[in-house]
């Protein structure tokens, strides 16, 4: 069967990095094609080339036999290529239909025929099997619904090639299922779908064929997904066998280091109390919105708290700003690296030293030589892959960015409690194990570590003890010996009976 979408000999270099070298593969019409690979493997670069956002140094993209020669994203768009990014591109203040018709409003003499527009959009949405009310404002929609609207946009533009970049990363499992049904329909329509995901389950559920990239090269191409195993894909992605990605090992646990006593605030009205010991990795599991991030953010001073006390080694850390908590030894790696973790446009060095450089100065004057040494030491220690410490952090993959944030806190003196919210979100398999290893090492050195994760296997894999949260309360505490998927999930799900009696 001939390929509808074909990449041949694509190469692309960025300063210091060969992002893609000689990548060739094809996708046939009416297929959902998985594109997998670790972060930094070249998936995003390939998508950028497909969407006209970047130009290939060598090689061509062909659609239906035609060589595409884009000068801009607009050209790719006109050629029928639509990329749906993780960050959605909708106008929140407009309605669904307005968003869908943006740029092509059905108007007579500049006056928009609203009722006709809503009717038309409603019909098209129904036809595509998307159940979203076209008159609602996008700002009121859930992330899942917004994703549907993005896809509807692609459908209405009659896109021939639709690339989805990790579409389920912020969807609930029910929303994901709706999305999958929609993708199935698009396949039946004879469109080409490029599906980028880290999640193997989804790839097996959806994809007909599969390409794996590694270090900018084609690591494997499977014309059909039948007979391919998970282990095979993982080893193709990382280039080696990974037996146990958790690698948990027993370690001595010391005295109580962190005491959280009745902490509560605006977003978490029920006072929460717990303790964590030196050398312990304590996990927090719960559904999204259970209050885990809110709790850790209040402990670290990121959000204000209305009451309660946090003690480290028996000493009250006060209830001020993050600066105060950091000085008392409590630091937070936040959930959303882009939003409040990395400092875009600044070098790795500056991202690492932002907090700890105050130890390296005399009267506020920097010691550049010493700063360089410190940055270099930690970059090496955590094996951050980068051509130089002067590199802008934005150019690093998610896993390496996360490591830089960890470098930031390791370079800070006297950290006793490390709070990590979703340590491996958006990070590929290989880098995940490395992050876990770093956490184990820090725990062995005597730090108390608190981890939030929404992935049950991860919390069960790396933690010594799990606290489960449900609707703003700590609902269960489970030691490693008693870890069991059912009991953890049961504690995380809201109790129907009590919900009924309250409601």
């Amino acid at each position: 069967m001939s390929s509808y979408l074909e990449f041949s000999g694509i190469s692309k270099s960025y300063p210091g990095v060969k992002a893609l070298s000689d990548v060739s593969f094809g996708v046939r019409k009416g297929a959902v094609h998985g594109l997998m690979g670790e972060n930094g493997a070249g998936k995003s670069t390939l998508i950028r080339i497909l969407s006209g956002d970047a130009a290939a140094d060598e090689g061509t993209v062909r659609i239906d036999g035609e060589t595409q020669n884009y000068q801009s994203t607009r050209d790719a768009f006109d050629a029928g290529v639509v990329v749906i990014h993780q960050e959605l591109q909708l106008v929140p203040g407009l309605t669904v239909a307005e968003n869908l018709c943006l740029g092509r409003f059905p108007a007579t003499g500049g006056v928009i025929g609203f009722s006709a527009m809503y009717e038309d959009v409603r019909r098209k949405l129904e036809l595509a099997g998307i159940s979203v009310d076209p008159t609602r404002k996008v700002a009121e929609l859930s992330i899942g619904e917004r994703q549907m609207v993005e896809i509807a946009k692609a459908v209405m533009l009659d896109a021939r090639v639709i690339a989805l970049d990790e579409p389920t990363s912020s969807l609930s499992s029910r929303e994901s299922e709706i999305l999958f049904t929609l993708i199935d329909r698009l396949r039946e329509d004879g469109r080409v779908i490029l599906y980028i995901s880290h999640r193997l389950d989804e790839v097996f559920r959806l994809c007909d064929s599969l390409t794996v990239l590694r270090d900018g090269r084609l690591a494997a191409h499977h014309e059909t997904i039948e007979g391919v195993t998970r282990e095979q894909i993982v080893s193709e992605m990382v280039g080696r066998e990974i037996s146990d990605i958790w690698g948990w090992r027993a370690r001595p646990v010391g005295a109580v280091e962190l005491e959280v006593d009745g902490v509560h605030g605006e977003k978490l009205p029920v006072p929460a109390s717990f303790q964590a010991r030196k050398g312990e990795i304590l996990g927090f599991f719960g559904l999204i919105g259970a209050g885990r991030s809110e709790l850790l953010r209040m402990i670290s001073g990121a959000d204000p708290r209305a009451g309660g006390q946090v003690r480290v080694g028996g000493v009250d850390i006060g209830s001020g700003q993050p600066a105060e908590a950091i000085r008392k030894g409590v630091v937070l790696c936040s959930e959303d690296r882009k939003f409040d973790g990395i400092i875009q446009g600044r070098s790795l060095e500056e991202n690492i030293l932002i907090s700890s450089r105050r130890h390296l100065t005399r009267f506020g004057v920097l010691d550049l030589r010493q700063e360089g040494e410190v940055a270099e030491t930690f970059l090496k220690k955590l094996r951050v892959r980068t051509p130089s410490r002067k590199q802008d952090i934005i150019n690093l993959s998610g896993g390496n960015q996360q490591k830089v944030i960890l470098c930031r806190w390791l370079s800070e003196k006297g950290v006793r409690v490390l709070l990590v919210d979703e340590p491996t979100r958006g990070i590929d398999v290989g880098a995940k194990s490395e992050i876990y290893d770093i956490l184990y090492q820090l725990a062995e050195e005597g730090m108390a570590i608190v981890v939030i994760s929404s992935e049950l296997p991860e919390v069960m894999g790396i933690c010594d003890r799990i606290l489960v949260m449900c609707e703003g309360r700590i609902s269960a505490e489970i030691g490693r010996a008693d870890f069991n998927e059912q009991s953890i999930l049961a504690a995380a799900l809201p109790d129907e009976a009590s919900a009924a009696s309250v409601g």
């Binding site: 300063p15 990121a302 973790g341 990395i342 400092i343 875009q344 932002i354 100065t361 920097l366 930031r408």
Partner: protein, 316 residues
Amino acid sequence: MTTSIKKLILGDQGLLVIFILAFALVSLTVPNFLTERNMLGLLQSVVTVGVIACTMMFCLAARDFDLSVGSNVAFCGMVAVMASNATGSIFLGILTALAAGALVGLFNGVVIAKFRINALITTLATMQIVRGLALISSDGRAVGIDDPMFYQLALSKFLGVPTPIWVLAALFVIFGFVLNRTVFGKNTLAMGGNPEASRLAGVNVDWMRIWIFTLQGFICAVAGILLASRITSGQPNAATGLELSVISACVLGGVSLAGGRATMTGVIVGVMIMGIAENVMNLLNIQAFYQYVVRGFILLLAVLLDNMRSSAIGRR
């Protein structure tokens, strides 16, 4: 050939290259440009803008904005003159003016950082309030200075170069150092890059903003005193529209309005380009009205160039 020119202009030092080329061109073509007298005059003319650009650079780098600088300069000039007259001491007059300028800046900073009011709005308000204060205190008229020693601030020379130029040079050096070699400078750039991440990383963002604005106010007072000395009086209507010239010079010098990007050399070049353009137009006897048009176009061109530069980096 064309690609290498493109690389040079769109590279990191592109602005400096353009500046040197323009300077050479003007030196060769415009009569009386490259003379000692004109050079000193040129530098004198950029003192006010240059001095304030130093701190405006911090303000913009931290993703903030200060529109009140022009009014503050006029106000501080008035204060310096009136306080000198009242106390009979120029020293006390200067001290009072510096305090007044810093106070206006502090007010801006506190309102912006603590009450979370947009910097643009806050300084738009103080711009009018402070201008009003300058007009009220002088009843709208220029106020002369009693002690002629006050003129010496601007007239005195050291090694043949007027004092204000030395002050400007010193401030360029000091603020270049502060930006690149101190925690304060690095934190400013980090805040502009991502304020929330900086806060979580332990930067006291509120405190930083208050300091940046206070410093800005203080430096406005320095500029105001030098200006009052040069025009030998306190003028309530002095320095109107100054804020726009200063911001233009900074933007011209590659300071990003989105924050997080600024260099002292860039700002110096930006200030000098604006100064040279004006100087050349004066030498060529071009009517002042046209100068506005030219200045506007220079700014647009610079921003366009900057845009091309960042998209060249993005597509690379």
